[in-house]
């Protein structure tokens, strides 16, 4: 079987969660007997000489870069000649299944192009984001930053100040484009349910965890908590959505109250200019008041992660948006590190309260401070029933099952078209 995996960005230059998942799945599939894999990554600028020229990578499968970019909203090809580049790859690879990871950059028209180019070949699409549903960067937060749970052309027009004609047309376009997809995969039930609310048929969606090559630790000795407080880490982008300010505020409140609840907070990752001065100012203000508990460690690599995780009692995921299926949660659980997270969305699903970690009220430093106080009073943070993330081989098998189902669906569609 030949599988064409499509990644919305090239992991080598943009190592996000969806890209990592696509690559890990490609690696896992390539290790299966009888499966040939090509990983095609969308990239805005590819020199003509490099277009549709696959190379064999160190993991034993082919990779190819494809010139592709989309607008924001319709996720439609910015240049219709991108179709020619994708078509070249499809005819070269002659896949038995095409698995798209995301539509952004890739183009929502690609499933239709697969139908026209290779009519019997099933198309599977993993939905990594809510961009199709929400024009606020797919965060499902309204213009006031409040959590949003429903979209409609009228509501979205108000939220992003687009004409309703445009939000209606956009939604119509994306929905229609999705009709050429045989089966959708979501990394969490939460993502599935949001897309089903939006109109996807639940029968066309399978929930399969992201494939991730995780550095695992089978056991972790239950360690007594130090008397002077918890050792915590925040690992992620410093954006308003990730709630770093909520965490810093909670730690600061605890510190100012004189309670020794947090010994240290290590902050990894960095920020993004696009979130503007207001957020940076807020973080700067919190840093100015902070007196030695919090340390900013900057960027980290995948190789650094096991050491980071092994050195803390828990990580905190304080996002103020829903999240889909945060990779950092899987990474922490793989190292047997409990997760303290907001009580909503993909976080609440992946971290069961009291089993894999603990929940606090989203966006509330007070709630987080109270939880941390409670936890620091314990003798340890041991959670014996903590979930073990699926092995890549299991995730690969679930995808193979999904490919089989997609193929049967495609066959039925081709038959009915006749």
């Amino acid at each position: 079987m030949r599988v064409l995996i499509v990644s919305h960005e090239w992991e080598a230059i943009s190592p996000g969660g969806a890209q990592r998942s696509a690559s890990a799945l490609a690696r896992g599939l390539a290790q299966q007997p009888g499966i040939e894999v090509t990983l095609a990554s969308a990239i805005r600028n590819v020199p003509p000489t490099e277009r549709a020229h696959p190379w064999r990578n160190a993991h034993g499968f082919d990779e190819v870069l494809v010139r592709s970019e989309t607008d924001l909203g319709f996720y439609s090809w910015q240049d219709p000649t991108f179709a020619n580049d994708w078509q070249r790859v499809l005819t070269q690879v002659q896949p038995d299944v095409v698995h798209l990871h995301h539509y952004f950059h890739v183009g929502v028209e690609l499933p239709l192009l697969v139908r026209h180019t290779l009519p019997g070949v099933p198309v599977v699409m993993t939905l990594h984001e809510f961009l199709a549903i929400c024009l606020q960067s797919g965060q499902m937060l309204d213009s006031l930053g409040q959590l949003c749970s429903q979209s409609s052309p009228a509501a979205c027009a108000n939220c992003v100040d687009w004409p309703i004609a445009r939000t209606a047309t956009r939604e119509d376009y994306v929905r229609r484009a999705f009709e050429s997809v045989d089966l959708f995969v979501t990394p969490s039930r939460f993502v599935r349910d949001r897309y089903v609310d939006w109109g996807l048929d639940i029968g066309r969606v399978r929930v399969i965890a992201n494939a991730l090559d995780l550095e695992r630790r089978v056991t972790r000795r239950t360690r007594a908590l130090p008397a002077n407080g918890l050792r915590l880490a925040f690992i992620g982008q410093h954006t308003p959505y990730k709630g770093l300010d909520v965490l810093m505020d909670a730690v600061l409140q605890l510190h100012e109250s004189g309670r020794e609840v947090v010994e240290r907070l290590e902050v990894y990752g960095d920020g993004s200019d696009r979130f503007g001065r207001e957020f940076e100012t807020r973080i700067s203000e919190l840093r100015a008041r902070e007196v030695g508990v919090t340390s900013f460690r900057g960027r980290y690599t995948q190789e650094d992660l096991p050491g980071i995780l092994d050195g803390v009692d828990a990580i905190v995921v304080p996002s103020i948006w829903w999240e889909n299926s945060p990779v950092v949660i899987e990474e922490a659980l793989a190292r047997r590190v409990p997760v303290i997270c907001s009580d909503i969305g993909g976080m609440a699903e992946k971290v069961r309260d009291g089993i894999d970690g603990w929940h606090f009220e989203v966006g509330s430093p007070v709630s987080l401070a109270a939880l941390l106080t409670d936890l620091s009073a314990r003798t340890s943070l041991g959670l014996p029933l903590m979930r073990v993330p699926l092995e890549t081989a299991d995730v690969v098998q679930q995808h193979l099952d999904a490919y089989g189902e997609a193929a049967r669906r495609r066959e039925r569609t081709v038959d009915s078209d006749r």
């Binding site: 192009l113 052309p153 309703i164 445009r166 209606a168 119509d172 229609r176």
Partner: protein, 442 residues
């Protein structure tokens, strides 16, 4: 927030105007402005503008006297204060302005100044106005708004009605096929005719819809009624349809902008299918295959034309049948009305139901019927009421029905706009002429 006046000015552009200049009196000139001026299809000039209430020499007795180029036939009303407020029709000193619209009969050359004289009390002033050369827009939206809706009466609009009555019918446009793809198959059972003007940003939704939910035996006939649009549209089709949508499609291009009806007629005349779907490009279909076959069954059952229920993007009804009735907003005028408009769709039933008239936004009929009624009526060159007249004609050949099982959405973003054809006064004036025609036809 921009005033309506400001928006209109941007939309239409402004004529060049200078003045007023004192002609026979030394009194200071009142605050005035000419907003727009156009040369009409018959060569006469249309002007609209405003002048302040609080002028020297009052009480105000404004009269527009005449023009060196011919008879000046003005409509002049003082804007109601509330209307003036909305429109930003206040002079710098805060006084409420007068609005006016008028015609200068006789021949006017584009760009050549025309002198308009007016009098307030004992003083007279002159304007020098240079009309734009577009030559196609007879009256402005602004004029209607300035006059205020309540002030628009059949009598008040008599000068415009006269112009419309006497306006010569423009010759039919020439067209050529500029794009043709995947059309070599058997004769289609349905031709989808899409007139395009100004923009085509919603067209990709239609093409994606039909490509995703393929309807076997359907062709698309696009008609560009806009020479400025044709090259862009052609390039777009060559890249999108050739590689991605792969639809049997032709693009016919008019040599000049001839209007919605003319574009429809060019399209269905060139269509190969017996069944014809006249479709605005800004209508979002639902399930093209099922829906088109459902509507086609109505024609097979003997109906003359069938249309879907059209919703606004907010989910309320835009069209579920149409009739002409006395207007509440414009007393004295008979205008098309859409029962249930802006209401949530309910009680529509599931079976096709007869209606008096169908909207021109989308309707399915047959080439035979269109041939029998002489096509879509070309109403005064361009503009409103084609669907009213077409409905009346088609009714002679069978029932007109709306099928509530077919629900589409009209985003109304790229249809021919009323503003392109002279605005509210012209629409109302046309309704008078249409009423005369329908009355004469019994």
């Amino acid at each position: 927030m921009a005033t309506i006046r400001g928006r209109l000015r941007r939309a239409f552009g402004a004529a060049t105007a200078s003045g007023p200049e004192v002609a026979s009196d030394s009194a200071p000139a009142p605050a005035t402005q000419v907003d727009a001026a156009w040369i009409l299809v018959d060569g006469s000039l249309c002007i609209d503008g405003w002048l302040a209430d609080d002028v020297p020499g009052g009480p105000v007795d404004v009269r527009l006297i005449g023009s060196e180029n011919g008879t000046w036939r003005p409509l002049l009303r003082k804007a109601r204060p509330d209307v003036a407020e909305v429109l930003g029709l206040r002079a710098p000193d805060g006084s409420v302005a007068y609005g006016f619209v008028g015609h200068v009969d006789g021949s006017v050359e584009p760009g050549r100044p025309v002198t308009i004289e007016f009098r307030v009390g004992e003083a007279t002033w002159e304007w020098r106005v240079s009309a734009l050369a577009d030559g196609v827009v007879p009256e402005s939206v602004f004029s209607g708004l300035v006059l205020g809706a309540k002030a628009l009466t059949p009598t008040g609009l008599a000068p415009i009605v006269d112009v419309i009555r006497q306006a010569p019918r423009p010759p039919a446009p020439q067209h050529r096929v500029v794009y043709e793809a995947f059309v070599g198959g058997p004769v289609p059972w349905l031709s989808v005719v899409v007139p395009l003007y100004g923009d085509f940003e919603y067209l990709r939704n239609l093409l994606l819809a039909i490509s995703t939910d393929p309807v076997v035996g359907v062709e698309l006939v696009l008609v560009s009624d806009d020479p400025a649009l044709t090259p862009r549209l052609l390039a777009w089709l060559e890249s999108w349809n050739d590689a991605t949508f792969l639809l049997p499609l032709r693009l016919l291009a008019h040599d000049r902008n001839a209007g919605f009806a003319a574009a429809c007629n060019t399209g269905w005349s060139a269509a190969r299918g017996e069944k014809i779907l006249l479709l605005n490009s800004d209508v979002l279909t639902n399930r093209p295959d099922t829906d088109l076959r459902t509507m086609a069954e109505c024609l097979d059952d003997g109906c003359a034309a069938v249309a879907p229920v059209l919703l606004y993007p907010d989910g309320t009804v835009q069209h579920a049948g149409m009739l002409v009735e006395g207007s509440v907003d414009f007393p004295g005028f008979e205008l098309p009305a859409h029962p249930g408009k802006h209401e949530l769709p309910r009680d529509l039933g599931s079976a096709p139901r007869g209606v008096e008239m169908l909207s021109g936004a989308v309707l399915m009929t047959t080439a035979t019927a269109l041939k029998a009624v002489g096509g879509v009526p070309v109403v005064f060159g361009k503009g409103d009421f084609e669907d009213v007249l077409l409905s009346v004609s088609l009714r002679e050949h069978g029932a007109l029905v709306v099928h509530p099982g077919v629900v589409w959405t009209h985003v109304e973003g790229a249809s021919y706009r009323r503003e392109d054809h002279g605005g509210v006064p012209v629409t109302l004036a046309k309704s008078v002429v249409i009423g005369e025609q329908l009355g004469a036809a019994g």
